[in-house]
């Protein structure tokens, strides 16, 4: 058997914004794209304890301790955690570990919404997509989940999609971000 320790690899391989479009004006603004795919993701079919009030139902997201819990479909709660997937047995028998099934990206900054509105038809206005809102919708022509949870006062959006689309979606977001001097950075390890 192999003597190497298994390495977890993210589906996202590009690290630079590519900017395929013709760029005349100089980019202005601020947006940062992070690959958060290594975060653990557990799918529950009932509301995890302690979230009944904060994640009131479909369309809501909340932070709980160091976790993020959101719901974008009836009977589905996704729990994100910065820590690697829990040891065996600690997730409820009805829950499913989907860490490996999904890619997770984060878009943060004053131009995050301006970036996303190029590829996603959600209304990012504070009235309709405030911090604490979650939605599964079409992003860059694939189904993806958009969760807004601001960080240190900056608008911040987690984008979760099927793993195999991860590299594609990361490319689409970084392309959209180029206009705002967007850059891909290493994940800081916190949610």
């Amino acid at each position: 058997m192999a003597d190497r320790t298994p390495i977890f690899r993210s589906p996202v391989r590009r690290q630079d914004a590519r900017g395929r479009g013709t760029k005349t004006g100089a980019p202005v603004g601020s947006v940062v794209v992070e690959d958060v795919s290594t975060a653990s993701k557990v799918l529950h079919n009932e509301a995890p304890a302690g979230t009944e009030d904060t994640v009131a139902g479909v369309g809501h997201a909340a932070r709980l301790d160091e976790r993020i819990i959101y719901s974008v479909a009836p009977g589905e709660w996704l729990e994100l955690s910065a820590h690697s997937p829990k040891p065996d047995g600690s997730i409820s028998p009805t829950a499913i570990d989907v860490t490996h099934a999904r890619a997770l990206l984060r878009v943060t900054g004053t131009d995050a919404a301006n970036t996303l509105e190029k590829i996603c038809a959600l209304d990012f206005d504070n009235r309709f997509t405030p911090s604490g809102a979650a939605a599964r919708t079409s992003v860059a022509a694939i189904a993806a989940e958009v969760i807004r949870l601001d960080r240190d006062g900056s608008p911040s959006y987690l984008i979760c999609c099927s793993r195999s689309y991860g590299d594609y979606l990361h490319g689409a977001i970084t392309d959209a971000a180029t206009q705002f001097a967007g850059q891909s950075v290493e994940w800081d390890g916190s949610l």
């Binding site: 369309g59 479909a73 939605a135 599964r136 919708t137 189904a143």
Partner: protein, 87 residues
């Protein structure tokens, strides 16, 4: 682009939804006849006017919806969950 007010997700673009047409009831498989079955498979009312169709919020919550739409104007006047599942 239609705007469909999903009972779970709120108003979303029509492209997130898959159209399934006006559903017809599945005949009893035990007693059905070829003629009845093929009517079920193929025949359509294809009305020009208000119809109750089934759609699926495919890129969203994946719920099945019954939508009242006018097939000549595409106006939508009601959206509800299939089977009326309570929210």
């Amino acid at each position: 682009m239609l705007l469909i007010d999903c009972p779970y997700c709120g108003p979303r673009n029509g492209s997130e939804f898959a159209w399934q047409g006006v559903p017809s009831p599945r005949p009893d498989p035990a007693s059905t006849t070829p003629l009845e079955w093929r009517r079920y498979l193929y025949e359509e009312d294809n009305l020009a006017g208000w119809v109750e169709e089934r759609w699926k919020h495919r890129s969203g919550c994946r719920a099945y919806l019954i939508i009242e739409r006018h097939t000549a104007t595409n106006e939508i006047r009601a959206v509800r969950l299939l089977g009326g599942t309570p929210l």
